[in-house]
């Protein structure tokens, strides 16, 4: 029986085009690095220039090779890929640079004995001079600043979360797009843009009028921070409450449950994971604010456990004062080391808060087990 199938063409099918070999990107990368190094050796070598020239050569080389072999569509695809990946790397660069710098400069300060457990009380310039001359450990630590940051931020959270959450509940459940709801939304949007030092001045002026002139305590700083936190809490809670499907509210109403009970026992528990992570992110945002705390809480060298009395130190103001007014003006290095250590601690604190936010979101999310 003769075969009725058409024979497979032995030359290339009309449907395919050429393809770059698999090693092509690596070959072009290698070539670009070598040629880039060569060009920069002529001008004067620096890593940044080398990276830039190599990147441009790589993009040009790969795209033109692809255009020659594969056709213009694949070449455009490769160009787009190069641009996207390049932009991503450029965006990543400052982040990596900051983390690297803080790690390099901060770890010596962090591992100093007593850094996390002592304050600057009694540490004078003489101690620093001695530490530099004799090569001994740097005295002094950030315990007072850490405690101050924790107290001020905690009080700010206690003020902001109820106010923010209740505002969000009003906007979503009772507002009905009325005039009051629209006005509140407008003012909350304005508040998100308030410069942090203005918030500090507001808090200082508020306490000046209410309590008396010259009030500088941790509580004033907490009020300033809560002015910055409230709009963030309102916005994120509002989004989380809107995500709760309306049919859940209707199911509760149909059972004869009152509106406020529905909100308290159905809507908020369903949205709680999103709200909790929003609050944690709001805390992470304000924990590093320097200007409002400088204006409102001053700066102290000893431990202050009373938020309502006396000046209080915090991590950002500690860094600021150590850099600007070193404990020993003739030997600023120990102050600089302590400041970098505090900066590292601050970044670690923000990272921990972010992880806590993710954990909270996962723990409280409605489960769908079988």
């Amino acid at each position: 029986m003769t075969s009725t199938l058409t024979p497979v063409r032995s030359k290339r099918s009309a449907l395919t085009k050429g393809q770059l070999p698999k090693y092509a990107p690596y070959a072009v990368l290698g070539g670009a690095l070598i040629v880039g190094a060569a060009i920069l050796a002529l001008i004067g070598f620096n890593p940044f220039g080398w990276g830039l020239v190599s990147a441009i050569l790589f993009a040009v080389g790969l795209v033109s090779w692809s255009a020659a072999v594969e056709g213009s569509r694949k070449a455009k695809d490769k160009l787009a890929t190069c641009l996207v990946v390049g932009s991503f790397l450029v965006a990543l660069l400052p982040l990596v640079s900051v983390i690297w710098t803080v790690l390099i400069n901060g770890i010596p300060g962090l591992i100093d004995p007593g850094f996390l457990t002592t304050s600057m009380n009694g540490v004078t310039g003489a101690f620093d001079n001695k530490a530099v001359e004799s090569g001994g450990p740097v005295m002094g630590g950030i315990y007072h600043a850490l405690l101050g940051t924790v107290q001020i931020t905690l009080l700010a959270t206690v003020i902001s979360v109820p106010v923010g959450l209740l505002t969000a509940i009003y906007l979503v459940e009772y507002g009905n797009d009325g005039r009051l709801a629209k006005a509140i939304t407008f003012f909350v949007d304005v508040m998100t843009g308030i410069p942090s030092i203005v918030a500090g001045l507001f808090a200082a002026a508020f306490f000046f009028v209410v309590v008396g002139p010259g009030t500088k305590t941790g509580a004033v700083a907490a009020v300033a921070l809560s002015v910055l936190m409230i709009p963030v809490v309102v916005r994120s809670s509002e989004e989380m409450l809107k995500i709760v499907p309306n049919e859940l509210r209707e199911a509760a109403y149909a059972l004869g449950v009152r509106k406020w009970r529905t909100i308290l026992k159905v809507v908020i528990p369903t949205a709680i994971s999103g709200i909790a992570s929003g609050v944690t992110l709001a805390i992470a945002r304000v924990i590093g604010e320097t200007a409002p705390i400088l204006v409102t809480a001053g700066f102290a060298t000893s431990i202050n456990s009373n938020v309502f009395g006396g000046w209080m130190a915090s991590l950002p103001t500690f860094i600021y004062t150590q850099i600007l007014n070193p404990t020993s003006p003739s030997n600023p290095d120990p102050s600089s080391q302590r400041a970098w250590g505090a900066a590292l601690v601050l970044i670690i604190l923000v990272m921990v808060l972010n992880l806590v936010a993710r954990l909270i979101a996962r723990i409280f999310a409605p489960k769908t087990g079988r």
């Binding site: 009905n176 499907p245 049919e247 859940l248 509210r249 209707e250 199911a251 509760a252 109403y253 149909a254 059972l255 004869g256 449950v257 009152r258 009970r261 529905t262 026992k265 159905v266 528990p269 369903t270 409605p366 489960k367 769908t368 087990g369 079988r370």
Partner: protein, 259 residues
Amino acid sequence: MSKRIDVKDLNVYYGDFLAVEDVSINIEAKSVTAFIGPSGCGKSTFLRTLNRMHEVIPGARVEGEVLLDGDNLYGPGVDPVTVRSQIGMVFQRPNPFPTMSIRDNVLAGVKLNNKKISKGEADVLVERSLKGANLWNEVKDRLEKPGSGLSGGQQQRLCIARAIAVEPQVILMDEPCSALDPISTLAIEDLINELKDQYTVVIVTHNMQQAARVSDKTAFFNIAGTGKPGKLIEYGDTHTIFSNPVQKATEDYVSGRFG
């Protein structure tokens, strides 16, 4: 345990727009009544006025009377929340509370209203409601598991159990089977047949064969055109509506000439 509903000259408005015009209908106690009609004719809107659920939409109002065993639901001083505890509702898409276990879902009508019942009474209520909804055998071993972990048909039966746990007089069902597969639909239709021994059931359905299967009486709603209000065209025994209707529009709809 169940009451009759008498509706007199009910007009339903959304703001100024008249959605349903001049409906008068008498629904017997311990019976199943089906509302049928094309999309957009106002049957779900009318159903929601029977337990004052339409009021959650801002601007919705009614004119006329809805009498539950003689008590006007829209009389002065009547609290919508009290009405809804007497007239329960099951929705088109199953909506168990996602943060609660199956047991807590069934008890939601009691717990969310802060009524105190002992653990023993609660267990009895859960078992009775789940048996009444034909779900007990399937979930009795996993009452503490979350309510959203069930299949669609089981979730809908859970919502029915939740509705009957508050011991209402009337159960309203808004297309309860339209999101379910045929086997779950059959389970729920069997359930409706059992429920009518104890409750008055009103069911809105798009599926005419379903109306023919489950209901004692059927009401046919129609709408003259978009923007016009919906009206009750004919109401009578299911058998009559489907084999020998009086109005021409009814006959056209049940024989499939439009819809």
